[in-house]
């Protein structure tokens, strides 16, 4: 038996400007954050790499969590562990991120996986990307020619495809701090608690005034496309109405199934996934309501 070990070069940049320079000159570079996604793909032969651009040295500049001017900024090379140990996730408004931490893979993957890599992976089961969708997150891209910010709702193009140009790196994700009468929740459903991919993932944000839904944002691992997306129509339906069992039931039965297209694969059937999506969305909204009201 021949064991196939993919071979590739690694470019280790000195800093951000070195990385951007080399990216602008060479087309054969694939950026790597933690490598928890990329190295698996390379080794299994799904990605052919000539040279990997190791972004780890950029942690000097791009690993941080900052809260200023009512904006939360997370450097792309912040690890999932660092996010999970930060004070940010103790804020009840971002309880959904704390939910992610409980379910995100395993401690040793969290120690290498980065926030930027989670967005860059553009995978339906990217937990943090899903929460950024409901937090109206933005992705900051840097290139030698400057920077641009893209709404995360417009960042994914296909499975493992994003609007990032070849010469750009993801430098930061950010979102505006949400109002105090709001909170978030994230549910990943699988047979086991740790180390699970999830049959269905839901993330939600809701802002309540008394019992009135002032604002609501919902994202699933898939609405039909192979990347996480918002449930725009269900959101529209719920917005501005009184929170009640009846209302949620209507949204789940009459609105969500019309905009969601689930697939059948070896892990679960489309019917099961749709059913689960409804159940989990209801749970997530109830959880958020309880969180806003001071419970858990």
């Amino acid at each position: 038996m021949v064991v196939y070990i993919p071979r590739f070069n690694v470019y280790i940049p000195k800093d951000v400007s070195d990385a951007l320079n080399v990216l602008s000159q060479r087309k054969d570079l694939i950026p790597m954050g933690g490598g928890s996604d990329l190295l698996v793909l390379i080794r299994s032969g799904m990605v052919k790499a000539d040279t990997v651009l190791d972004l780890w040295p950029l942690r000097k500049e791009l690993a941080y969590i900052k809260r200023e001017n009512a904006t939360v900024r997370i450097g792309a090379l912040t690890t999932v562990s660092e996010l999970c140990e930060s004070d940010l996730i103790k804020d009840v408004r971002y309880a959904g991120l704390a939910d992610v931490c409980k379910k995100f893979s395993t401690p040793f993957i969290r120690n290498i996986a980065t926030v930027g890599g989670n967005v860059g992976a553009a995978h339906p089961l990217s937990d943090i990307a899903l929460m950024l969708l409901v937090l109206n997150g933005k992705v900051k891209l840097l290139s030698k020619n400057g920077e641009r910010e893209v709404d995360i709702t417009k960042f994914f193009k296909g499975k493992r495809q994003t609007v990032r140009n070849h010469d750009e790196i993801i430098a930061e994700v950010s979102f505006t701090e949400t109002p105090h009468n709001s909170s978030t929740a994230f549910i990943k459903f699988d047979r086991r608690w740790g180390h699970a991919m999830g049959y269905v993932l839901v993330g939600a944000y809701m802002q309540l005034r008394g019992n009135m839904i002032e604002d609501v944002r919902i994202a699933f691992d898939s609405m039909g496309n192979p990347y996480p997306e918002r449930a725009w129509k269900t959101e529209e339906f719920l917005k501005g109405k009184e929170f009640s069992d009846e209302l949620i039931k209507q949204a789940l039965n009459d609105v969500l199934p019309k905009e969601m297209k689930r697939i059948t694969d070896y892990r679960a059937s489309a019917e099961y996934r749709l059913d689960l999506s409804k159940v989990l969305l209801r749970r997530a909204l109830l959880k958020i309501k309880s969180r806003i009201e001071g419970g858990d």
Binding site: V2, Y4, I5, P6, R7, F8, N9, V10, I12, G34, G35, S36, L39, V40, R43, S44, G45, V52, D54, W56, S81, K102, S105, T106, P107, F108, I109, N111, I112, W193, G194, H195
Partner: protein, 180 residues
């Protein structure tokens, strides 16, 4: 799948990295595509570092890199340059067993033992920052350590016992004391 011709291999440079493994300094030549796992296990002979899945899913290959638990199958060797590594071999001085090892023996958790180097280091990473973990914290800390023999419930007992030993100041045991 293809066989890579010899001349192709040589287009990849040797890169010299320095590592401190279990307190000793090493200089090793590595290829850019080699993993920390390849270097520790095959070049330096730390066979406590096991290759289970090679893709971050089983926890058999974990080591402590600058105090953090990482899967050595998903860390490129060049990235580990300059770091301090702890493998299971470096856990206790020669002739001694660490409290974690003693506790795993005391609770009869060891079956085939393949998962143990990883399990032991995952427990060490947990106890280093949390000397008195709850059941939930233990389950989370060990959630990536797959044990085909299914010693999971005993791991929980063992972690508590190890924590107790360490709190009592009994970090190391003589091998004779354990096997006795």
């Amino acid at each position: 799948m293809s066989v890579i011709p010899r001349e192709e291999w040589d287009k990849y440079p040797d890169i010299e990295i320095s590592l401190n493994v279990n307190g000793k300094d090493y200089k090793v030549k590595v290829k850019p595509y080699e993993r920390l796992l390849d270097v520790l296990r095959y070049k330096l002979g730390f066979t406590g570092v096991k290759e289970g899945c090679g893709r971050g899913e089983c926890g058999a290959c974990v080591v402590l890199m600058d105090g953090k638990l990482v899967p050595s199958c998903l860390v490129l060797a060049v990235r580990a340059n300059g770091s301090k590594i702890l493998t299971v071999e470096g856990l206790a001085p020669e002739g001694k067993l660490h409290a974690i090892q003693k506790a795993l023996l005391d609770t009869y958790a060891v079956q085939c033992g393949f998962c143990f180097p990883g399990v032991i280091l995952a427990i060490k990473a947990l106890l280093d920052r949390n000397p008195n973990p709850t059941d939930e914290e233990i389950k989370d800390a060990l959630s990536g350590q797959l044990c085909r023999c299914g010693s999971y419930l005993r791991f929980i007992k063992a972690v508590k016992l190890a924590a107790q030993y360490i709190r009592e100041g009994k970090e190391y045991f003589d091998e004779s004391e354990v096997r006795g």
